[in-house]
């Protein structure tokens, strides 16, 4: 039994996980229309490589990556591209962004794809490229491209590979369902990862509220040397930094990466995506999404084609729109609300939550902060949330930074526990954005000042040069009049030298006629 360590703070919100675990994972079906946002996660948006009216096959690349931190997109099923237009995307802003629209034909016809069941024949670099081409992104949080995460500096040795199967957010059971049903694929994916980065040990951290999942993984991982570690159930144990502390008792340095302490963390859902991409040759075109909440008759886990509109998913789960008060993508702690049900599922949507007002009530107006300090007790980053709140209200950026605002992981524990119902996380998000904006503006203004000062200097120099030229001409004219020929004292001063050159030139052009100048 491996020792587990503890992180500071944490909370125990009601789990609400049983509801969606009553039935096995079910394929959600092919909706008539798929909406595929070109920007699905952090990094540069992909750029479309298909034309309107073109027929695409399942697994065909429909948009290519446009940078290092960027991934291609693939058609989740066969059909016809009907439009490339702005649609509402799953983002807290509720903004519209360019999307590819596919009218599906229901035939689900595959394009031939490349699979590598004997992945050991490939070099790690080739595998990373394969994962990049398959569009594999982190399935847990911000959807960081897996290939980029795996391309670490060769000098850095990864001691520990951590697979994050904690799934600490209430309601979400997508990883739990995967563990129960696809343990072998998870382990295979973990072994591919371990082949790529060659760590000394591979750990899979799972919260101890998933005994079935742990048993299934342990069975699948027998004789592989992969250690399944049951960690105490406490939100946010699934935060990357927190899980690393639980498993290794080391803290990721502020502003640094887990690789700095020899750890790499990958989401459990990502291992399945890696398995599918490498062994089955199946790019990332679907994912497991938990559809739950009391506004649904049958909460359950679906295997969903990317681009499926939420409306389609909700109707598959018996949606009672009249009782629903908001639609949340993600869990109740870190998820965000979306303005309507036409928003599509993207690579990072692990949960769709349709609660009733009774279940997750709208927040009441905030009362005054009484500095009870409960937020500081539960903060997993050991921050002082009440102080940060104070400074955020007063826009005191310097103090916010000195109190390490940027180490906040926005887990929501402080807001959850706050007896005065203060939306603390929103204050921190706004303050962070404000500080970043300030920094950007400052950089811009510094740049502008540099250019302005350079221009001033240039103008001054030009004026000066003009003057010197004029002076030189005058001198030359004088010299011409005085019939000067040679220069007696060559000066080191560039101005003098320029004058001298000008004179010499003039002198060369015209025959000297006067006596030497006494300079």
């Amino acid at each position: 039994m491996r020792t587990v360590f503890r992180f500071h703070g944490g909370i125990h919100p009601s789990e609400n996980k049983q509801q969606s675990l009553q039935t096995p994972i079910e394929f959600a079906g092919i909706p008539p229309e798929l909406v595929i946002p070109l920007s699905q996660h952090v990094g540069a948006p992909a750029s479309s490589v298909v034309a309107i009216g073109e027929r695409v096959l399942k697994g065909q690349m429909i948009a290519e990556s446009t940078g290092y931190i960027s991934l291609p997109l693939h058609a989740p099923t066969s059909g016809t591209i009907t439009a490339i237009e702005d649609r509402t995307i799953p983002h807290p802003s509720g903004y519209k962004a360019p999307c590819l629209i596919i009218a599906t034909d229901g035939e689900d016809e595959w394009q031939t794809t490349r699979c590598e069941p004997n992945y050991q024949d490939l070099t790690p670099a080739e595998l990373v490229q394969l994962l990049r081409d398959a569009g594999v992104a982190g399935m847990g949080g911000a959807g960081f491209p897996t290939a980029v995460k795996l391309s670490i500096n060769p000098d850095v040795h990864i001691e520990t590979l951590v697979i994050n199967g904690t799934e600490c957010e209430p309601y979400i059971t997508a990883d739990d369902a995967l563990m129960r049903e696809r343990g072998a694929q998870i382990i295979e994916g973990a072994r591919i990862l371990s082949y790529i980065i060659n760590p000394a040990r591979t750990l899979i951290g799972v919260e101890d509220n998933k005994p079935e999942g742990i048993a299934s993984l342990r069975y699948a991982a027998r004789d592989t040397g992969i250690d399944i570690v049951a960690v105490p159930t406490r939100y946010p144990s699934g935060g990357e930094k927190q899980l690393i502390e639980i498993l290794t008792n080391k803290q990721v340095p502020s502003g640094g990466l887990p690789a700095d302490i020899g750890v790499m963390c990958q989401n459990l859902g990502t291992t399945v995506a890696i398995h599918d991409a490498v062994i089955k040759g199946r790019p990332l075109i679907s994912r497991i999404t938990t559809v739950t909440g009391r506004s649904l008759d049958q909460p359950q886990n679906f295997e969903v084609l990317l681009g499926t509109p939420l409306r389609f998913l909700l109707s598959r789960a018996g949606y009672q729109g009249s009782t629903n008060n908001k639609l949340i993508i993600g869990g109740p702690m870190m998820g965000f609300t979306v303005p309507n049900a036409d928003v599509p599922v993207v690579k990072t949507c692990n949960c769709l939550l349709a609660p009733t007002e009774n279940e997750l009530p709208s927040p009441p107006p905030a009362k005054a902060c009484i500095r009870c300090g409960q937020c500081a007790e539960v903060c997993p980053a050991s921050l002082l949330p009440q102080q940060l709140f104070w400074f955020a209200q007063g826009n005191e950026h310097e103090k916010l930074e000195r109190h390490n605002l940027f180490d906040c992981i926005e887990c929501g524990s402080c807001s959850w526990v706050c007896p005065s119902h203060i939306p603390l996380v929103q204050y921190y998000r706004a303050a962070k954005a404000d500080i970043v904006l300030h920094r950007e503006n400052h950089l811009k203004s510094e740049h502008a000042r540099g250019r302005f000062e350079f221009r001033q200097a240039r103008i001054a120099r030009e004026v000066h040069e003009k003057q010197t030229r004029r002076e030189a001409r005058r001198q030359a004219a004088l010299a011409h009049n005085n019939d000067s020929g040679s220069i007696t004292s060559p000066s080191t001063d560039p101005v003098q030298a320029a004058i001298a050159r000008a004179k010499a030139r003039k002198a060369g052009q015209q025959k000297p006629r006067s006596e030497p100048e006494s300079s």
């Binding site: 706004a430 303050a431 811009k444 203004s445 502008a448």
Partner: protein, 203 residues
Amino acid sequence: MLELISHYPLAAALLALVGMGAVFGALLGYADVRFRTEGDPIADQINNLLPQTQCGQCGYPGCRPYAEAIAGGEAINKCPPGGESTIADLADLLDVEALPLDQEHGEEKVKAVAYIREPECIGCTKCIQACPVDAILGAAKQMHTVIVSECTGCDLCVDPCPVDCIDMIPQAQGLHSWRWPLPDPVSSVAAIIATDSNRGQAA
């Protein structure tokens, strides 16, 4: 001497005061020499906070002259491109009250960049000469264009253009520029009043 002092308290007081004056004067004089700084650090700090558009809307020929004027006592609310946030920063730095923006010098607008309608450009280079940050590219009798990343949106190129082919295009608010706003105090107060009136009815 001591006796004299104890006999004449007035002399003692006088001596003490003069002595203290001498000591502190010497201290101050030494500090002045020891901690002398070159240039005007306050003006530098102020200049650091100004948006560096060099637009001259404040009435000074550029940001640095305005910074120097502020250091000399000029009002801090004459910079429309900086807007409220710059005024707040200046007030913070100088420990004075933040005033609302002086409308005489213009209004705070969304950040914009200049755009030259190229077919109409006659290549007169007047805008190039006006641009304080060399953000316009072109030559005489050639079409000009704006380097968007360098443009500060100062408006100075708009007036000189003889054919009015320069537009100031506000920068688009998109996904990239979206950010969480601070919780809105007005809406929460409205909510409080709503709950209050509900309770009032119930009571």
